[in-house]
Structure formats: structure tokens, C-alpha cells
């Protein structure tokens, strides 16, 4: 479904990704873990075309999207939940969600809105409240819900657990499971390696811009190196 081959990305002179190849198959939850500055977010942003890969290729559903502008990529059935949530604080919850379904017609917008409210009843309660007044967890739910409004086949998430209480993180990850059961493939970038690997079918470990390990989720959880580096022994 998503295939990266030998992707190199630069920030000016600095090479943030040094030849990354990975693959996500339909229906999977795949996670990418790594330390701060390993290039996780860069990898996600490269898929979205901002910045673009200077070498290598990114293909989504058989289509080469390496050189396409971001707004075109984001209309191909791909959605991203950006790092730090980036909801629209001045817009209401419902308007935030409607922005996610910007290209949908009215009828589809209604059904999609109901679907997201089904997943996140909390958002329905607060639909007329400004996004900025929500708690961190609710904002994360809103960001995920907004991403789902575009009916993506693949949902990219950048650190959805960032800055949230453990109980909220558990809720979010539970919802990710539900979303997968609805047929959405998930690519999850996380620092919270333990939780991410528990959820994921497969995982990649990124270090200094290179993939150093790739295995199934349970195997990575059991892997000694991973335990030492990311799971605290």
C-alpha cells in the first residue's frame, strides 16, 4: 500500500534520512519507533511531500507520489494527524471536522460526521465548543477524527500520545484498534515504544536516519536491543 524505497531527505546540508526503505500493507498497523532526532517525523513529513525526498521514491497504492505537492498527496486517500495535533483552536469541534471533509459533498459529510461522533462520543458532546477549549486528549481525538473525515485508506499518525496522561493514551490506542477494524491501515510514529509495539502488527526502528531493525510487533517487544534502548531494560 505504502512503499518507501531508499528515501533520502535533506534539511539544507543536513541529511535527516539516509536511505530509508519500508512498506505498509493494507489492513496493517505499522509503527515506527526511535529516539528524539532519529528522523521519525521527517520520514512522515517526507511521505506527505514536505520536505520532498531528494533521492529514492515514495509510492502509495502503486502511484508514485515522491514529487507531488502536499495538497495533492493529501487528497489521494492518505490522511495525517500531525505532531502536536494542530487543530484549529478558534473553530468549533464540528467546523474542525468539516475542514477534514472539505472535499466531500453534503450528504457524505453528514454520514462521516456521524461516524466520527460514533468513534468519539466526547466530540459529539462538545461539537459546538471551540477546538482550543478542549483538553489535550480531546484535541488529539479531534485531530484523529479530522483526519478520518477525508475517508483515508491510510492514516498516518505522528506521536498521538505526546503529552497525554496514560489513561488517555490507552483510550487513544484502543480507538486506533477500532479504526483499523473499520478497514483503515495505520502507520504510527511513536516515542512511546512499549504501547506502540503492543498495538502494532509490525514495527521499524529508526536510528540516525536509517532503519536498523524491522520485525513483527511482539518480536520487537522481546528483542534485547530494543528493550535496552527504548523500553528501559
Amino acid at each position: 500500500m505504502l512503499k518507501l524505497e531508499n528515501v533520502h531527505t535533506f534539511y539544507g546540508q543536513i541529511e535527516a534520512l539516509k536511505g530509508v526503505s519500508l512498506e505498509v500493507h493494507p489492513g496493517e498497523i505499522v509503527t515506527l519507533i526511535g529516539a528524539n532526532g532519529a528522523g521519525k517525523s521527517t520520514l512522515l513529513m517526507t511521505i506527505c511531500g514536505s520536505p520532498q525526498a531528494s533521492e529514492g521514491s515514495v509510492a502509495f497504492e502503486g502511484q508514485d507520489i515522491t514529487r507531488k505537492p502536499t495538497h495533492v498527496i493529501m487528497q489521494c486517500g492518505l490522511a495525517v494527524v500531525p505532531e502536536g495535533r494542530r487543530i484549529f483552536p478558534g473553530l468549533t469541534v464540528q467546523e474542525n471536522l468539516q475542514m477534514g471533509g472539505f472535499f466531500a459533498d453534503k450528504a457524505r459529510l453528514e454520514t462521516d460526521l456521524e461516524r466520527v461522533f460514533g468513534l468519539f462520543p466526547r466530540l459529539k458532546e462538545r461539537r459546538h465548543q471551540r477546538g482550543g477549549t478542549l483538553s489535550g486528549g480531546e484535541q488529539q481525538m479531534l485531530a484523529i477524527g479530522r483526519g478520518l473525515m477525508g475517508r483515508p485508506n491510510l492514516l498516518l499518525l505522528d506521536e498521538p500520545s505526546l503529552g497525554l496522561a496514560p489513561i488517555i493514551i490507552a483510550q487513544i490506542f484502543q480507538i486506533l484498534k477500532e479504526i483499523r477494524e473499520e478497514g483503515v491501515t495505520i502507520f504510527l510514529v511513536e516515542q512511546n515504544a512499549h504501547r506502540a509495539l503492543q498495538l502494532a502488527d509490525r514495527g521499524y526502528v529508526l536510528e540516525n536516519g536509517r532503519i536498523v531493525l524491522a520485525d513483527s510487533g511482539p518480536n520487537l517487544l522481546a528483542n534485547d536491543e530494543v528493550r535496552k534502548a527504548y523500553l528501559g531494560g
Binding site: H71, A79, M99, Q129, G132, T133
Partner: protein, 425 residues
């Protein structure tokens, strides 16, 4: 205490420095002699007032704080009912209709001059509403708005003069041309952000003015274009005698000729244009495009992540905004009958921007009120005309102190948790 004293003295000296050239020394022309007239009284009064106010700032503030409106005033049943009705859509409709009725009937009861001033105010309302799209909703600081205004005005003036096209035909053309200008300007310029965009649009405004001044064959240079025909009502003219075989308004309706008809007609025409502007913008805001403007203002990266092309959305805002300036320009040319580049200087852009900021960015009602205030108040206080800019500055300072969000801040849908909303801001 000594600190307050020093502070007060400093403020007093500053006041004196500011006011002596404006109030203290006046040039008196007496025949061929020019004399400098020294009148110290107003300066002394102002300096003493500032000194005392600064000196007793704290006690005054405490006094002000203790003299607060009792809570019961705000929460009693009458105000609550008033607020409830204000939120009720039916009541709102009724209120708007009432306002509209007043606006329509009003000109028949007052003097011709008052109606004329109000017509000018309506032009600024239109400009304010137009600029509000791009500054208030899309959050793009455009400083050359007068350029689009000029394009609209000159488009009508030129087409009417050279080809004898009617106002009604020229109005959409003027709007279209202004929109095209906005579009062409936006294509390269909207990649810039914030201050840079402001500077480039400022330059564009100046370039337009210079072009108007120098393209003599097209714009008549500094003399401008005169003898611009006034709009007609379904072919009925408002002159004393109709040109080449047409009918005049007063003949058609069997009235005595009166210059008031034309003035009131222009006012009503302006009112209709303002209402159309309000209606169109209100519609746009309810559409996904209007929401996208606001979303873009809040977070451009998030917008891109949702598949929106920021350039297209910004371009749509600028193009539409320019179109409204074009309409306003055509109407302005029709009202004045004569235009020249002096009407489209930077001050004009700054005025419109001030209207938007004063009214509260993104607030339609606020912009309408601010536009009326900014055009009508100086007219009411004609005798203080020299101090206009001084008063302008004073108002700006006061606004910054008391209502930094504008007269009527843009209102989002009501919140269920107002306290938390404030905390999160």
C-alpha cells in the same frame, strides 16, 4: 511616591512637546503679513490635566475598580431576556429588518448634506467589509487596498466616458477588473507571509497611484477623469433635463424637480450595494470556503495536511476582496462625478485598515459601525478638522487600552464553558 512624581512630570513634558506645535503656535495670516500667534492656554490645560491624571493614576484606578457595575445589573431578568432574544434567530431577523427600515426611511427626513455624508460612509462600509475578508478572515495583511478601489473607480470612469456604457453595465466590469488585478497580484505575492506581504502590497498600492498619475492617455494624469455620468434608475435620469431624448425621474413620476432626488437615490443605491455585500460575504462564510479562510489563518500546516492548497484559498480571498473594492470604486466614481489619483493614496488604504481593526477583525457588524464612525464623526466635528489626525491617534491609543479586540470582536458560536475558553486563550 517620587517615582509617580517623576513619571507624571515626564508625561507632562511629553504632552507639552507634542502640543506646543499643534495648539500653542498658530500661523495667523493677516493680509500679506504672516504672524505667529502664541496661545498658551490650551497647552497649559492639557499639560496640567495629564500631570494630575498620571500623578493620581493609582487612586483613580482604585476608584474605577470599586465603582463597578453591580453584578445584579448584568444578571437580572431583563438583561437575561434581552440576551436571549438577541440569540433567537427570529428576534435577530426582526432587529435587522427594523434597522433596514430606519436606514431606508431616514434620508427622507434629514438634510441633503447628511445624506451625502452617509453615502460616503456606505462606501467605506463596503471597503471595510471587503478588506475584512482578506485581513479579518484570511489573516493576510494587505496595505494596498486602495489600488483595487482605484481600479474599480477608473474602470467605470473610463468606460462611461469613452464608450458611454451605463453604470449598471460597468459595475460588474469594474468589480471584475479589480478582482482580476487582485488575482494577478496574488499569484506571485501570496507566497509571502505577514510583514513581507504587507510591504509588497503597500508597494503595489503606490505603484498603482503612480501609474494613475502618469498614464495620461488612459487616466488623465493628475487631473483625473471628470464628468462621470451618474447612474440612472431603469433609464430614468436625475438631471433637470434629460440628455438626448431620455426621460427624467421627476418628469416620469410627475414630481417637481429637486436635487434631493439624486442624492437620496445615490444613498439608496449605496445601501443596496452594502446589503448585497453583506449578504454575499455572509453566505461565503457559511460555505466551506469561508471556513477554510479562517482555518488557514489559524494553522496553515494543518490546512495543507488536510489536502487544501493554501495558495488557492488565499487567492480566492484576495480576489473576492478586490472585487468588492472594485464595486465600491465604481460607486465612488459615480457619486463624485470626478476622480483623480489623490483619492487613492496610502492614507485611503490605512483608513480602511483602521476601520477593519477598529471594528474588530472578522466582525461584520463591527466593521459597519467602525466605518460609519470614522467617516461621520469627522464630519460632525468639522470645526476641529485640524485636529483630526490627533483625535485619530487618541482613539487608536484608547482602543489599544480598552478594546484591543475591536469594537465588536468577531463572535464565534456560543461556548458552553466560557471560563475555560478564556483560560485557553
Amino acid at each position: 511616591m517620587p517615582r509617580t512624581l517623576i513619571d507624571a512630570l515626564l508625561a507632562a513634558v511629553l504632552t507639552a512637546v507634542l502640543l506646543i506645535p499643534i495648539f500653542g503656535l498658530r500661523i495667523q495670516v493677516d493680509g500679506v503679513n504672516v504672524a505667529l500667534d502664541r496661545t498658551p492656554t490650551p497647552v497649559v490645560i492639557a499639560v496640567v490635566a495629564v500631570f494630575l491624571l498620571r500623578l493620581f493614576k493609582r487612586p483613580l484606578q482604585r476608584l474605577w475598580a470599586s465603582w463597578k457595575v453591580p453584578g445584579s445589573w448584568r444578571a437580572n431578568s431583563a438583561t437575561a431576556a434581552l440576551r436571549q432574544t438577541a440569540q433567537h434567530p427570529r428576534a435577530r431577523q426582526a432587529l435587522w429588518l427594523l434597522l433596514l427600515a430606519v436606514a431606508v426611511i431616514w434620508p427622507f427626513t434629514v438634510s441633503r448634506g447628511a445624506v451625502d455624508v452617509m453615502t460616503l460612509a456606505l462606501i467605506y462600509v463596503m471597503l471595510g467589509l471587503g478588506l475584512n475578508i482578506v485581513v479579518g478572515f484570511a489573516g493576510l495583511l494587505v496595505l494596498g487596498y486602495a489600488a483595487f478601489y482605484a481600479v474599480g473607480a477608473y474602470a467605470y470612469a473610463y468606460l462611461a466616458q469613452q464608450f458611454g456604457l451605463s453604470f449598471w453595465l460597468c459595475l460588474p466590469i469594474a468589480g471584475g477588473l479589480a478582482a482580476l488585478t487582485g488575482f494577478l497580484l496574488g499569484l506571485p505575492v501570496l507566497r509571502l507571509r505577514g510583514d513581507y506581504l504587507a510591504i509588497v502590497t503597500l508597494g503595489f498600492g503606490e505603484i498603482t497611484r503612480l501609474l494613475l498619475n502618469n498614464l495620461n492617455f488612459l487616466t488623465g494624469g493628475p487631473d483625473g477623469i471628470g464628468g462621470i455620468p451618474r447612474p440612472s434608475l431603469f433609464g430614468l435620469e436625475f438631471g433637470r433635463r434629460a440628455k438626448d431624448g431620455g426621460a427624467t425621474f421627476h418628469e416620469f413620476f410627475g414630481l417637481d424637480y429637486s436635487g434631493d432626488h439624486a442624492v437620496i437615490f445615490m444613498y439608496l443605491l449605496g445601501l443596496a450595494l452594502v446589503l448585497a455585500t453583506l449578504f454575499v460575504i455572509d453566505r461565503l462564510l457559511r460555505m466551506p470556503l469561508g471556513r477554510a479562510w479562517e482555518a488557514l489563518r489559524e494553522d496553515e500546516i494543518a490546512c495543507r495536511s488536510l489536502g487544501l492548497n493554501p495558495t488557492v484559498i488565499k487567492l480566492s480571498a484576495l480576489t473576492l476582496s478586490a472585487a468588492f473594492a472594485g464595486f465600491a470604486g465604481a460607486f465612488f466614481a459615480a457619486r463624485q462625478g470626478h476622480i483623480n489619483p489623490e483619492s487613492f493614496t496610502f492614507i485611503e488604504s490605512a483608513m480602511v485598515l483602521a476601520i477593519v481593526v477598529l471594528g474588530g477583525m472578522g466582525s461584520q457588524l463591527g466593521v459597519v459601525l467602525a466605518a460609519i464612525a470614522i467617516t461621520v464623526l469627522p464630519e460632525l466635528a468639522r470645526e476641529f478638522n485640524e485636529y483630526r489626525m490627533l483625535a485619530f491617534g487618541l482613539v487608536m491609543v484608547l482602543m489599544m487600552m480598552w478594546r484591543p479586540q475591536g469594537l465588536i470582536p468577531a463572535s464565534r458560536p456560543p461556548l458552553t464553558l466560557p471560563e475555560r475558553a478564556e483560560a485557553a486563550r
